[in-house]
Amino acid sequence: MKIMKKIILLAATIFLGSQILLAQFSVPVDKSPLDVSYYPVNYPSMKLRGTKEVPVMRVLYSRPYKNGRELFGTNIVPYDKVWRLGANEATEIDFFTDVTVNGKKIDKGRYTLYCIPQENEWTFIINRETDIWGSFKYDESKDVVRVSVPVKEVKEPIESLTITFEKTASGANLLAGWDKKTASFPINF
């Protein structure tokens, strides 16, 4: 009887142990997967091919799907509220060199990128606080710069939120788009 108890206990321990391990490793693949965009665009593959250029910046963000939903001006992306411009973690922008946004010099480093969408205008916010979840902890006193730009409508809806860069004469534009809305703001360097 005693032995039986011991065996049951042992079996239970093993079972529980494996459950804990399973739980730890059942890190699910996210519904809104993380992605990275570099400037220069596709920098890691340029580097693989031996580019001499250096990376200027990158965005780390999660990409929610539209999934047939109405997005802007609904409770998914309400107007006039700070939005994490992504999903899950707050969106991170890393500058590998000093840049200028809206006349304000920004030291190289890691920052959080937020957006306040309105019907015809988006306000992008670069904020000093990093490594946070969502926009729940948004602290305006840690803003580095804000820039408001007009929204452009596109014909074909963009299924998953997309952030990328495009080259300009004085640097690059950060371009964000989801559903039929896109907006961009210039970064000079």
Binding site: F25, D35, K47, L60, E89, D131, I158
Partner: protein, 212 residues
């Protein structure tokens, strides 16, 4: 000359046939995965800006769940480590039979090389790893994985420049763990100021301990 051409053609067919044999994967119950594929495939056609990847990117912090702790104000200090990596999945393949080879470098992920961000210096097997961004890769062996911490960052994972290794350390491996479909990197916190970088795929889990 004609004979040569024929032989060449024959060889080519052989090679192609062999290739398709190794690429083909046995059918398993992957209804969920297929669904993911379908979604991603559809997206690739409907997204004019940038397409979504089949091996999605993910990140893990140390201390574990750092951001959630920040949300609930249970932590004041900054994070110590972060790994940014892409998560390939098995899709019926066998890790060391179908695509990884013992003794050959592996990027510990997919696509871009796997990045280790060190926000606070750590000690790995008695050696100090200073603050900075690093590339992580691995040389798997049967009983241990050699983990290389390398200073060549922001590069697609295929070009590994071992001359830029900052350190190489050995991580013990355990087998016969519950199946892990998607390659997974997480951190574990132990008592005191100890932690582990934990890498798991299929039934294999490698652990690299550190102090912070």
């Amino acid at each position: 000359m004609k004979l040569h051409k024929r032989w060449f053609l024959f060889l080519l067919i052989c090679i192609t046939a062999c290739n398709s044999n190794t690429v083909e994967t046995p059918a398993i119950d992957t209804t969920k995965l297929l669904k993911t594929h379908e979604i991603i495939n559809n997206l690739q056609e409907t997204n004019p800006l940038a397409t979504l990847d089949i091996s999605p990117m993910d990140m893990s912090y140390f201390p574990p769940n750092y951001q959630q702790m920040r949300m609930s104000d249970t932590i004041k200090e900054g994070p110590v480590l972060r790994v940014i990596y892409s998560r390939p999945h098995l899709q019926g393949r066998k890790l060391f039979q179908d695509f990884l080879k013992y003794g050959q470098p592996w990027r510990l992920g997919a696509n871009e090389s796997t990045e280790l961000d060190v926000f606070e210096p750590i000690i790995v097997q008695g050696r100090k790893l200073p603050k900075g961004r690093y590339t992580l890769y691995c040389i798997p062996k049967e009983d241990e994985w050699i983990i290389a911490i390398n200073s060549n960052v922001d590069v697609w994972g295929l070009k590994i420049d071992s001359t830029k290794d900052v350190m190489r350390v050995k991580a013990p491996v355990s087998r016969n763990n519950p199946a892990i479909e998607y390659f997974t990197i997480v951190f574990e916190k132990a008592d005191g100021r100890n932690g582990s970088l934990v890498m798991g795929w299929q039934d294999i889990i490698a652990r690299l301990a550190f102090k912070y």
